[in-house]
């Protein structure tokens, strides 16, 4: 076997001699690798923030509401569904052994003010104490309200992290009074910082008041959902139980469809998987396309290179180059051009992922992806170089030496 080091040296020398051409040729590869690595970075970042968001929705929590989160049904089929009622909570808790906790959650938007400061458009949740379990909520300062306070309709409020920051810049909010419209509430706790859900909904921009209080002050009707925490070993059973209970409560006949929805984190997961597939598919499509185009470009330039260097090939053969060594030299040349493109692509992608990390969402380019990219570009290089190198290797030295 012809010394690999020498072939490498020759190949690199030839590329160096045609820097600009090699650089331009490799653009397709650069774009291909850039596409695949950036896509990978994007997906890894999405995964990360998705998983973080999903931690707000427990895997073992069922969300019972009027509509499905991602409904495939037509709106007119589901618009007449009856509202979810708070009475269901007790029935579900008493009739299914898999249910660990259940809380009704109702919500409206309101402004909360304190003196001159106003927190505008805060989501006011009315719920029971079991919400602490279904929503994985931790209280930073102070406490959550008690069942007694809930039942008696006490004017106490637990505020989100952002609300606390707006209204109480440098003070401890616990024990202070805030106003919501004409009602005065006493702040008893501040929820820990939770961030945004799927990068869109700010969970810290809310306040929680007892369910009893909510119903007394605002409305007994309106939108409501039930959050049910179930035994995580029996999520499916719990779902079946609850479906049966609700169907019975609503008097649905066996042939009728459910007129309520039991949502789960899985719904988001499925939705997310679909989206990820779309992003991944697009990325791979772009990648394959540019790699094919790039590969053909490289093949083309290698054919040109072989043609141009016919004389050189003749000389090398005359002084003892075997077909194998010529093949190796040109293959390595194609390989290095592609590998160089791959490197440039990866480096650009590193820059790109840094920008994504800084300005869009936390993400990092997976190192395996960088390695895979380089392997892919090497493979493209070898495939693209195969035909031209073979042509060079098979060249008749006499013809080649005579070539002008």
């Amino acid at each position: 076997m012809f010394a690999f080091v020498e072939s490498t040296r020759m190949a690199l020398g030839a590329i160096w001699g045609n820097k600009l051409r090699a650089g331009l040729t490799t653009l397709g590869i650069v774009i291909g690798i850039l596409a695949v690595t950036l896509m990978g970075t994007l997906i890894s970042g999405l995964d990360r923030s998705f998983e973080k968001s999903m931690s707000f929705l427990g895997r073992d929590v069922l969300y019972i509401s009027k509509y499905e989160w991602f409904s495939k049904q037509e709106w007119w089929e589901i618009r007449n569904r009856p509202d979810i009622k708070v009475e269901y909570v007790e029935k579900i808790k008493s009739q299914s052994k898999y249910v660990l906790a259940a809380a009704p959650v109702t919500m409206r938007t309101a402004d909360i003010s304190r003196g001159k400061e106003t927190a505008v458009g805060i989501n006011i949740l009315g719920t029971t104490t079991e919400f602490l379990q279904t929503a994985f909520l931790n209280i930073d300062d102070g406490r959550f309200y008690t069942e007694g306070e809930d039942r008696s309709g006490a004017r106490v409020i637990v505020i989100g992290y952002d609300v606390a920051n707006i209204l109480f810049e440098n003070e401890n909010p616990v024990g202070q009074k805030v106003k919501m419209g004409r009602y005065v509430f006493r702040v008893i706790g501040v929820a820990e910082k939770q961030g945004k859900f799927l990068g869109m909904f700010n969970i810290d921009n809310r306040a929680i008041i007892p369910f009893g209080t909510y119903q007394r002050l605002f409305s007994r009707r309106g939108w409501m959902r039930l959050e049910v925490k179930v035994d995580q070993e029996h999520i499916k059973d719990a779902k079946d139980d609850i479906t049966a209970i609700l169907r019975r409560l609503r008097g649905l006949h066996p042939g009728e469809k459910n007129n309520f929805a039991i949502n789960q984190q899985d719904a988001f997961r499925q939705q997310y998987q679909t989206m990820k597939l779309a992003i991944g598919g697009t990325g791979i499509f772009i990648t394959v396309l540019s790699l094919v185009v790039g590969g053909i470009g490289i093949m083309n330039i290698m054919f040109v290179s072989v043609k141009e260097r016919t004389r050189e090939i003749g000389v090398r053969k005359a002084i003892g180059a075997t077909p194998g060594s010529i093949m190796q030299q040109f293959l390595l040349e194609a390989l290095f051009i592609c590998l160089f493109g791959g490197f440039v692509g990866v480096i650009l992608a590193l820059g790109g992922s840094f920008m994504i990390d800084k300005y869009i969402f936390p993400s990092a380019m997976p190192i395996t992806l960088a390695i895979i990219s380089l392997v892919i570009s090497s493979i493209v290089g070898i495939i693209a170089g195969l035909a031209p190198s073979y042509k060079a290797a098979r060249m008749d030295p006499i013809e080649a030496l005579r070539y002008e």
């Binding site: 012809f2 010394a3 000389v315 090398r316 002084i319 003892g320």
Partner: protein, 243 residues
């Protein structure tokens, strides 16, 4: 002792668009060590094919070719490459140096294909350049050298593997007469040092440097003449004509 080169009934036919061209049509030839041979003939005579055949760039359609006992006519491409590398030093009319490599790197090239380790290669390449008196130019690229110097680099490249024959195809064809003389002196010296030199030329005064001249016509050796003229005389003649 085996003959250096032994051709027996060598034929080389080409198929050019359905027509058979008999470039070599039955050649018998023996060349011994330290011969100084010139091959002459008009264009189309088969002279080039003869050279390619001796240089192991081509294989006979028929007949046998033995190089120091090795059966060239049975060799595949890799074996041919190997024998060219080890045993034959080519000198071309158009020099055929690689333009992007320095003189030293050009001379080093055959040793790379011979898998000689790097340190040895440089050492040997320098030795070869010293023989053609170009050590001071070893870091120059071909386009920084004169025609005569380029051909001397090419000769150094041919010498560097210590080949059994030096095969020079019109070595002075692209040179002015002064450089031509210079190159012929180098070749003469190489022969004097014990090398076997084969010249292909159509210039009679170049052919006269050799001690044996083969005249090729229609793919056959028409004449095989030994000329015993003293070399020095010719050189003086040439020097006179070139000034």
């Amino acid at each position: 002792m085996v003959d250096l080169i032994k051709l027996r009934g060598v034929k080389r036919y080409y198929d050019v668009g359905g027509e058979i061209v008999r470039a070599l049509d039955g050649v018998d030839l023996i060349i011994n060590y330290n011969e100084y041979i010139s091959i002459m003939g008009p264009s189309g005579s088969g002279k080039s094919t003869m050279m390619n055949m001796i240089g192991c760039l081509d294989s006979p359609t028929e007949g046998t070719y033995e190089f120091e006992g090795e059966k060239v006519h049975e060799m595949d491409d890799n074996q041919l490459a190997s024998i060219r590398n080890r045993k034959i030093g080519f000198v071309f009319q158009t020099f055929n140096l690689l333009p992007k490599l320095t003189a030293l790197r050009n001379v080093e090239l055959p040793l790379i294909y011979a898998n000689v380790p790097r340190e040895h290669r440089l050492e040997k390449a320098k030795e070869a350049l010293e023989k053609v008196d170009l050590l001071d130019r070893m870091h120059h690229k071909p386009n920084e050298l004169s025609g005569g110097q380029r051909q001397r680099v090419a000769i150094a490249r041919a010498l560097v593997t210590n080949p059994s024959i030096i095969l020079a195809d019109e070595p002075t064809g692209n040179l002015d007469s002064k450089s031509g003389v210079e190159i012929m002196n180098v070749l003469d010296d190489l022969h004097d040092e014990g090398n076997t030199v084969i010249l292909v030329t159509h210039e009679a005064y170049i052919a006269e440097h050799a001690h044996r001249t083969l005249h090729i016509l229609d793919g056959k050796i028409e004449d095989d003449v030994r000329n015993n003229r003293p070399k020095t005389k010719i050189i003086i003649q040439e020097k006179n004509t070139s000034t």
